[in-house]
């Protein structure tokens, strides 16, 4: 047997054309339900996020250190903006301390083909 508290009575039996007071109570109930649902998810995600931040095992990535000036190829030194972009991309991708030793342009006739082959072989599961 289910017993509905009297507070739920207006909720369960909203008329087809409710009075203003009844309608306002219905809206407040509805908004409260939405807030309760999303607040519960919020609380849960804050708790989970707290544990993930606290027990994270990987060390925080330190900013990349450029130990030597990049070795130019054919006398062409990369622009400072390109060096900054490359170091930023590496820092964002690698989640561990690292040191950039040199920046060299790729030999476009050989290395892109090798990279493409590596990607294709990696996409096929061996098991």
């Amino acid at each position: 047997m289910v017993i509905y508290p009297s507070a739920l009575a207006p909720l369960a039996t909203l008329s087809e054309h409710p009075a203003l007071g009844e309608s306002i109570a219905y809206q407040l109930n509805g908004l409260t339900v939405v807030f309760i649902a999303l607040s519960a998810i919020w609380a849960l995600m804050e708790l989970i996020g707290f544990f993930f931040r606290r027990f994270r095992t990987a060390p925080t990535a330190k900013p990349a250190v450029l130990s030597a000036p990049p070795a130019p190829l054919n006398g062409n030194r990369p622009r400072h903006e390109i060096v900054a972009a490359i170091t930023s991309a590496i820092a964002a991708t690698l989640d561990e301390p690292h040191r950039i030793v040199e920046i060299l342009p790729l030999d476009q006739t050989r290395d892109w083909a090798r990279e493409g082959r590596r990607e294709i072989f990696a996409s096929h599961r061996t098991r």
Binding site: L11, A12, L14, S15, E16, H17, P18, L20, S23, I24, Y26, Q27, N29, G30, L31, V33, V34, F35, I36, A37, L38, S39, A40, I41, W42, L44, M45, E46, I48, G49, F52, R53
Partner: protein, 425 residues
């Protein structure tokens, strides 16, 4: 021969054309123009407009419209001819079919043999809308396309998504005052959530007679978000608030995203079981995306499934726009109420962000992202970002705005579940 030609012409559809149909052709043409030439949500408006055109042509074999004596119409009705058969005796021969009806089986259940099914193309396809199949399956694709990372990184933006549902409830009251019933008012109010599948899901359950007008209003206003929202955002925020820079979002791991999908599903279904279909499919699609082990399924959900269903859903909804039901004063009221719903939802999100800043002033939220709680993903987030850029070109709000934007999808589904649980049963 002339007699033959004349008798042939009596079988054509010209004699069934009415002036109301011609008006609907014009409306369909306007919708097609807006969708194709102006880019107003073409993925939905083109099928809807086409469906509306088909619904207002004297077709045969496409859709059946039942008109009852009291003036109400029902679309997508197909006929099944069946006859009762004897309760099959226990037999290992699957081909043995009893031929003569006999007494009812002891269980009291009657067995029917379907002999003929009669209906048009969209009498069957539209069952996907009538039986509430298409909207949840589209949500599967939406979940597969959505990245909840920004929301997980800043979970308090869930409250902005909740506050942005204010428009739904205020519009409900406005619709009641304009003479709509509670069920119709709820179906109209959901326009404020700016979520097409949810609007269709709810309207089909509570007020199917208004489905066409609600769908057109919802999708039209979704495409007008860049026009409707900015004036309200500027009205409710100061210049100082618009240039607030928020802290960078932390990195969210894959495991967090997987836990999020399951946690949201469990919490929402426990609180509002009537939203189960929408929430479960949304989170299933998202889980498939984030687990990384079901790439083929994700690609299908993001592309083939959602595209096929979009075509069928749009055309089925368009076919509910018969002249008799669409050309009514209620349609104009729905269009006006739709704008009100959007406006209040935008205001609700922005004001909630301002309240949040009063409570936590040390970690402020730019109020412009509050308007993204209107779940037109990702357009509303882009609007927040563009508005922020107007006042500070180095302020990048897009990823922050994605948090409340996707939270709004969950909030609208919860609100729809509340309406169904309180009004449908």
């Amino acid at each position: 021969m002339i007699q033959d030609l004349l008798s042939f012409f009596t079988t054509t559809g010209f004699q069934f054309i009415t002036w109301q149909m011609l008006v609907m052709w014009l409306i369909a043409a306007i919708l097609l123009y807006l969708a194709v030439a102006k880019g107003f949500e073409p993925l939905l408006l083109v099928p809807i407009a086409f469906g509306a055109l088909i619904a207002n042509l004297p077709t045969r074999g496409v859709i059946t419209i039942d008109r009852s004596v009291d003036g109400t119409t029902q679309t997508a009705v197909f006929r099944v001819e069946a006859r009762p058969v004897a309760h099959p005796a226990p037999s290992h021969d699957a081909a043995a079919i009893p031929t003569a009806p006999s007494s009812m089986p002891e269980s009291g259940r009657q067995v029917l043999k379907i002999e003929r099914v009669e209906g048009g193309l969209y009498d069957f396809i539209s069952q996907g809308v009538k039986l509430e199949l298409f909207p949840p399956l589209i949500f599967l694709g939406v979940g597969a396309l959505t990245d909840f990372g920004p929301l997980i990184a800043m979970p308090r933006t869930l409250l902005l998504g909740a506050a942005a549902q204010l428009g739904l409830f205020i519009t409900f009251m406005g619709a009641n005052l304009l003479g709509f019933t509670s069920k119709q008012a709820a179906s109209i109010g959901i326009i404020g959530g700016a979520d097409g599948p949810t609007a269709i899901f709810l309207a089909n359950k509570l007020a199917p007679e208004l489905l066409g007008a609600i769908a057109v209003a919802a999708y039209s206003y979704m495409s007008l978000v860049p026009l409707i929202q900015p004036p309200i955002m500027r009205l409710l925020t100061t210049k100082k608030e618009r240039v607030i820079r928020m802290k960078s979002l932390r990195k969210v791991s894959k495991l967090e995203k997987l836990i999020f999908a399951i946690a949201v599903m469990i919490v929402c279904i426990l609180l509002v079981p009537d939203a189960s279909a929408l929430i479960a499919m949304l989170m299933l699609g998202n889980f498939l995306r984030e687990c990384g082990a079901t790439e083929r399924l994700v690609k299908s959900a993001q592309n083939e499934i959602i595209n096929i269903l979009t075509i069928f859903l749009g055309t089925s909804v368009g076919m509910t726009m018969q002249a008799e039901t669409f050309l009514a004063p209620s349609t104009l009221k729905i269009i006006v109420l739709g704008v009100i719903a959007f406006a209040f939802s935008t205001a609700g999100g922005v004001l909630a962000a301002k309240v949040m800043n009063l409570i936590t002033p040390h970690n402020p939220v730019n109020p412009l992202i509050g308007s993204a709680g209107v779940s037109a993903v990702p357009m509303a987030a882009r609007v927040s970002h563009n508005e922020g850029q107007r006042y500070d070109s180095n302020n990048y709000l897009l990823m922050h705005a994605m948090g409340p934007n996707v939270a709004g999808v969950i909030g609208t589904a919860v609100a729809a579940g509340y309406f169904i649980s309180t009004l449908a049963h």
